[in-house]
Symmetry: C2
Subunit: 537 residues, 2 copies
């Protein structure tokens, strides 16, 4: 007994003797044990009672795994349409559990999500409709589970800032799991995956940075962020606007083969395919077939399809497979007719995105901050000579007839932005020596060619040219490039049967998307990117 | 001298003596020789004069090979817009020499062609504007040469039946070659390539049959026929209508990778690709990525892209590469929600073609005769059981739970056409045993599945199903199919993080085109078809 304890006194106020004290202690211990047993029995009894209790809400929650048995045709409401105007309306929705939080044993707050929209849901115990069992079960649901919710729209006391729908919430009446994701089974949370890069860098950051590799390894979860939902809506829109612009000019869409019997024009790295007892190659572009379509009188063609490059480049802007937006067009007098069509096409895309996808762009901006993409009505088109001059005036040493490297391109982009306030411009008349053999020389100065690149934020997004349509001249240019015309007889044959003058270009879809939104890595612009080290998922 | 010749008489009416006769003959021969020499000299003199003559029309004809030097902005007229209402108007057009025919030394008739339209052109010598040299040069132009024509629209005396424009022709004033095709260098004529198959079979056929292999070997020329120009306009339209229908339902377009790290679901023959120091496979369908997109909350996705099948099938309806129109969609209650969307999509395509492409269909019908494609507003949807019953009633022995072969499918198609007057129907609830492991069993009878095929003219054009979205059940079904779930962990992982019930399907673009137009061979529905024996052009 320590000195600061008060002595135990008997009924008469006298301290107990040691033996009496011992007896008392024994008695107290006995009592405590007895009580513990009684408490345990009582608790067990209570549990038993609860377990045996009729769950008054049993029909209102739990898993439903079977679909396609019946059709009630009960309409489902989309979260984006729920707001204060629906006050007190009964609704049924399918959504993901974005997050949930139990408050005591009687209440669970949910943040339900559909794509890029979210709304608060509240489940409150209230027998018989919402039993304690139901609340307990609901509180145990893992994030990203898909649920079917029935309830009524209510007006929250304060605006719900954590959801996209601020002025309405759902008072949950029924809750079923359609797809159960056990807690703790996610590689990362959607919230962590949604933060701007800058937040990860903060010293007092309390959350995990989700690295790009981790995202790509778990792309299905990563793609659920608001940002990614918006990015791929914009990707889809770029293709739609591309087609819209060209359809209105009587282009037709073609589908050319990706399996080729001969390696294609550029001689650059191609993928080899085992083709029965022989070999095939994956097309590096639809260059040959689209030119054949011009020789076949289709006049104006475009194709959206995969393009394969077996280059072992591990950069922010290279993939081994990407989506090419290709077009080719016969012209009457001058290849600038084609340049103008492509220019209008790009402006249709930029304008369409800025006007129809402003909401999506704003969402993406939160995670990937960027300046608005600027372009004048009248596109800036520079002769290669002018670009050389601008670079020299800015102190760069550049050769008259050498191709620019990426760094010089970006520098030039900055100069152009500075001078013309545009993130988009055309560089025309590349030196002939920098371009493939089939590029038409400039008829007024054959050190240059009728070829062009289009740029966005200082990076190339389209490369193209007037092509040589005369088979004899084409064969001559092949020989000048050290090639043997007979190796590409099929290509030459297409022009021997008559082809009109034509020009075209190829666009990298993912590059346009990356640069417009400043995603900084091309992999973010591809659903399931492929590079020398990645073939899955 | 034979007895029936009349005797030669002298000036007095007396027959000549033999010697006098001989003398006369010698004189006559001498005179004839002299005349021949004189004629030859005169002809040589004339040729010399002509050659030395100033060609008064030298500026009005000849080759022009250089483009992109200047832009006159002179408008070019399209043949389809030329008719009697343009009488006497001066026009400039670029067109092909479809055929030409000289009439004496002073006149050449041309049939000029632009895609599927043609018009007659007439060049008549009339110094100084049209010299004899010009006419001679024009008469020597090879078919399929591309020319620039200036002239005035005139009304022909009789309707021109050989051209699509009957009520107008061009009086040619200037004629230049843009692309010269020397006579005799074509593998076959466009006219021979345009004849209906039946004409080739006629006993008195005076022309060459152009075999499919010859056409495909020289596809650039073959594609120039009116028929082929129309076929690929229709192909382009199918894709446009497909997207139009799905875009209006908030689908988004995706682009999934064709290079896969693991062989895809079906275990069927895949193409192997050398991938740096490793291996990749060409996707047999976007099945996995499109399901991953559903698990990633995109809700409704479609893709148009190449699909690769390493099957050594050399039939009229198999290719090693074709264009897949794929879609996948989350649903609320029942997979029939998805079936209905696909059904509406098909009807949008059929209606769109019949209304917007009636002209093209008529052109194609001339070479490939076919009955109009018939379908009711309310699509016929049969349960597999019903199909079995119909087949048995028609005397076929069929097993309850066996897949139909091609021949049975066609027979069933004929029965359905007979009974319901439709070329298009849906067969629902295929036996589970006929379908891939990921097909959802019918919850009311698990000998069947929630899967379906769509048919056109008795051939399958879409195959699809509700997919199993529960990872445990999916793994169980894999094991029941003798597969090891760990071999497809990536696929299972997509569902472990939560996926809504979903269904979809894959459509072969070329099959739809072939069957709608009854082209009888899938290669005719592909620009540059690929089969086990063909990788070029």
């Amino acid at each position: 007994m320590s000195s600061d304890e008060a002595p135990v006194l008997d009924a008469n106020g006298q301290p107990l003797t040691k033996s009496a004290l011992k007896k008392l202690k024994q008695q107290q211990e006995k009592d405590a044990k007895k009580k513990a047993v009684q408490d345990r029995l009582a608790a067990e009894q209570k549990d038993k009672q609860e377990a045996n209790a009729i769950d008054t809400a049993a029909q209102n929650y739990g898993p439903i795994s079977v679909h396609s048995q019946q059709r009630t045709h009960i309409p489902r409401t989309q979260i984006e349409h729920i707001n204060a105007s629906l006050n007190n309306q009964h609704i049924t929705i399918r959504a993901r559990v974005h997050t949930s939080r139990a408050q005591g044993a009687k209440m669970v707050f949910f943040n339900f999500r559909q794509q890029d929209k979210s709304i608060q849901g509240v489940l409150v115990a209230s027998e018989p409709a919402v039993s304690k069992q139901m609340v307990k079960w609901a509180a145990s649901l893992g994030d990203e589970s898909i649920v079917l919710i029935e309830g009524s729209v209510q007006l929250p006391k304060d605006p719900v800032n954590s959801a996209t729908q601020h002025d309405a919430e759902i008072a949950i009446e029924k809750l079923f799991t359609i797809s159960d994701v056990p807690g703790g089974s996610l590689p990362f949370t959607i919230e962590d995956a949604s933060r701007p890069e800058a937040e990860y860098e903060k010293e007092d950051a309390q959350f995990n940075k989700v690295h790009l590799e981790t995202r790509l390894d778990n792309r299905v979860v990563d793609l659920r962020t608001q940002t990614n939902q918006a990015i791929f809506k914009v990707q889809s829109a770029i293709c739609r606007l591309f087609r819209q612009s060209l359809d209105s000019r009587d282009f037709i869409e073609i589908h050319s083969p990706k399996l080729m019997g001969a390696a294609s024009e550029s001689g650059a790295s191609v993928f080899n395919v085992s083709y029965f007892k022989s070999q095939a190659f994956l097309a590096q572009s639809p260059q040959l077939p689209k030119q054949m379509c011009i020789a076949a009188d289709f006049e104006k063609v475009y194709e959206i399809g995969p393009v394969f490059r077996a280059e072992n480049s591990n950069t922010h802007r290279h993939m081994t497979e990407f989506t090419g937006l290709d077009l080719e067009m016969a012209f009457e007098e001058h290849y600038h007719e084609v340049v103008e069509v492509m220019d209008e096409m790009f402006k249709t895309i930029f304008r369409g995105l800025n006007t129809q996808y402003a909401k999506e762009i704003d969402i993406i901006k939160k995670q990937f901050p960027h300046d608005e993409f600027v372009f004048p009505d009248q596109t800036v088109k520079l002769h290669y000579k002018d670009a050389i001059k601008m670079l020299r005036e800015a102190g760069r040493e550049v050769d008259d007839f050498e191709d620019f490297n990426t760094e010089t391109e970006k520098f030039l982009g900055a100069l152009v932005k500075d001078k013309y306030n545009t993130d988009y411009y055309i560089l025309d008349k590349f030196p002939l020596s920098c371009r493939p053999f089939y590029s038409m020389p400039d008829p007024t100065d054959n050190r240059y060619s009728n070829s062009y690149d289009f740029f966005m934020r200082g990076e190339e997004i389209l490369s193209g040219a007037q092509r040589i349509h005369d088979p004899a001249f084409l064969a001559q240019r092949m020989r000048e490039h050290g090639m043997n015309p007979s190796d590409m007889q099929g290509y030459l044959d297409a022009f021997a049967v008559g082809a009109p003058p034509h020009a075209g270009g190829g666009i990298g879809l993912e590059r346009v998307l990356m640069l417009f939104l400043k995603l900084n890595n091309i992999r973010r612009a591809s659903l399931f990117p492929r590079d020398p080290k990645r073939l899955a998922p």
